[in-house]
Symmetry: C2
Subunit: 416 residues, 2 copies
């Protein structure tokens, strides 16, 4: 049997199913009699030697983790720089790993986390300390390279498509004497994957959403407004889905142009939806409503996709296997075998091919006019939102678990 401890940490924006990955990691490790420590707040906990012992959690709690959104150990937004610039931090990580006999490090995050895991693994190799680093994919943005999709995306995509389908029925019912235009803001700073998922809400020429604004296409206000008016004239109402990250042709974020100051000179926190709503109201004189679900879309475990949940658990389990097989600097990636029936497997991908890259939507997924998705996009997206993975409820609310997170005694001087 392998000896040593496995350290797991969560990084970047959390998702509805990152804890399902944690549950997969801990369950697989327990089956192999490996002790799993977790760092609080991602790499920061590793640097601070702020670790918890998951062995203190009951089987029921680890099972319940799989239906609990958020990040059970805390996550962080913290990017390590290059080995040269941040060498002391990388050395500190190795010190903490040595002190707690950490032989396997699993970092669950996006592009930046893959980069961190890669650098730690290189340093370990150079220092002769026997460490295996595995990146574990996670992001609602779906912008990770190599993997066909990223755990977390499917559930956020399902939330988006369901919400837009439902809100559209509301607008359709009211348009005769009230709201004519509805603007929904989807997360996605650089890639329009979630906005694209909204396209699943309808499939006819006049189905909502009628217009989708992608960061992959420059925002042209005159063209946009003309199209809104045309849809209202034809259908009677119009549902718009906008990526938070849309930009004008000169490269400026549209959301930022919305963030002026209010009547009292206070800074207004912009948002794409209220900005576009204001333009539709001013320029077209139509009654408009807008929604910005923000964190709701990435924490909505209540409407998680079964495909996404299955893949989140599978990458967690595979990461443990890869770790024990000493497949250093790899990441379990989803490979799509077929669209229909949807079949997938988990395969190892080199972290070097994932780190610091960004997967944009293929041009073939964007409709020629730039305001909708193609049949190819539907074939890709549809299986990812399939299946309902409902959490258990108690008294009408989801029964989410709170872990004990028992601290591991520190052995090193405080950091920094």
């Amino acid at each position: 049997m392998a000896t040593g401890n496995l350290l797991y940490a969560q990084s970047g924006g959390v998702t509805a199913v990152i804890n399902a990955t944690a549950s997969g990691v801990i369950t697989e490790a327990r089956e192999r009699r490996i002790r799993v420590l977790a760092a609080r707040e991602g790499i920061l906990g590793a640097l601070r030697e702020d670790l918890v012992d998951t062995a203190r959690e009951s089987i029921a709690s680890i099972r319940a983790l799989a239906h609990t959104p958020g990040g059970a150990f805390g996550s962080c937004r913290y990017k390590l720089k290059s080995l040269e610039e941040d060498r002391a931090k990388y050395e500190r990580l190795l010190d903490v790993f040595r002190a707690h006999d950490v032989r396997w490090f699993l970092y669950n995050g996006g592009n930046d986390s893959a980069d961190t895991a890669l650098k730690v693994s290189r340093l370990a190799a150079a220092s002769a300390y026997p460490l295996t680093c595995i990146g574990v994919p996670k992001t609602i943005d779906n912008d990770l390279a190599v993997t066909d999709c990223s755990p977390g995306f499917g559930s956020a995509a399902k939330y988006t498509a369901v919400s837009v389908r439902e809100a559209a029925l509301d607008v359709a019912a009211m348009a005769g004497s009230s709201t004519r235009v509805f603007v929904y803001e989807a997360m996605g700073r650089h890639a329009g994957w979630l906005a694209a998922a909204a396209g699943l809400a309808g499939d006819g020429a006049d189905d909502a959403p009628h217009l989708i604004l992608f960061p992959e296409r420059a925002y042209d206000e005159a063209d946009f407004l003309a199209r809104v008016q045309a849809v209202v004239d034809r259908v009677g109402w119009c549902v718009v889905v906008a990526s938070e990250g849309i930009r004008t042709a000169d490269g400026g974020f549209v959301a930022e142009s919305g963030g002026g100051t209010d009547a009292f000179g206070h800074a207004q926190l912009g948002g794409v939806a209220p900005y576009l709503a204001g333009r539709v109201k001013d320029a077209l004189g139509l009654k408009v409503h807008w929604a910005t679900p923000d964190y709701l879309q990435r924490s909505a475990r209540h409407i998680a996709s079964q495909t996404d949940l299955d893949q989140a658990i599978a990458v967690g389990r595979a990461a443990v296997r890869y770790a024990l097989e000493r497949r250093n600097a790899t990441m379990p990636a989803v490979r799509r075998v077929s669209d229909n029936p949807y079949r997938w497997t988990i395969e190892p991908a080199p972290l070097a091919r994932v780190a610091n890259r960004e997967k944009k939507m293929p041009a073939a997924f964007l409709r020629r006019d730039g305001y909708g998705i193609t049949a190819a996009a539907r074939r890709y997206l549809q299986p990812l939102v399939r299946g309902e993975a409902y959490p258990p409820y108690r008294d009408g609310l989801p029964a989410y678990v709170s872990l004990k997170n028992t601290p591991v005694a520190k052995k090193l001087p405080d950091w920094p």
Copy 2:
């Protein structure tokens, strides 16, 4: 057997379950061999003689109506004035009813709709035309008088509590190095029922939501900001739920103070959440996120409450029975028999006691400090969100129905 047709219409903002009420109406009427016509876009359809024949819909479609949000026949925002001012319109309604042998009129809406139904019933009585008018309750705002709760509220309340519980887990995970304050905007222009429902998301002193802002209490910015800072100092992060209708002591809506102009002089459509977020960022220097779910909260049939669904169907069925019993100018109201176990019945209430009134939250439901709910509020709210009434899914999305809405041939000159 009674002869004549029953006319059903939907009014005001739609809900996740108003179509369930329609399904209850049509099902009960079919069992009694009564033909149900429906007016498109509420009272506007009745005035325009724009009617559809629900007899053309299949049993499966009427059953599916019970799990479809929005308003299947269209709704409207249109208030009839007094009999004196709008006499021609009321006369036109009677003309349409006579032309289509409408002996029973069921108007499904809020306070205004109850008032309209009441006036139509009085005119009919004065004219000797045998018409029975029944108001059918509906509103996510829960501000209807007499009835213990309003169909539509329980599902929106469940959406709110679930969403806040989920987003809070996200904030808790990120607060160490990212977002510290999250502001959620709940609907409720005059009464804070939905904001109160968010209180179900947690139940300890440090559980989210930490601060709820009700329209029933004047918004005091300095006090609010001091409390946000205190929660952040104590808990590490803070979740705020704000009613869209909060006002300052001088009576002005806070949301309107947020609606200045942007850098280009364009009108900004305000919202309470971005306004409060801006204040927290400016005054406290904390990283903040905000969400405005808007129509999502009233159309979220995917997370409907079973209690709410049951009551929505029950008021629809009862309305038909009351109509056939010629209980003119009544409304089926929910009477609470006991909190725990929760028991309720449907009983007739006089429309005159419902029309144009507004039920605010009892003072006993607001915590003394004004920023949370009491145990009494929990006892009231909890049963209303209980039970999950999931719609069926097809390919990962809810399978909502679209009715044929076959028009009834017009018999009168166009209106107006």
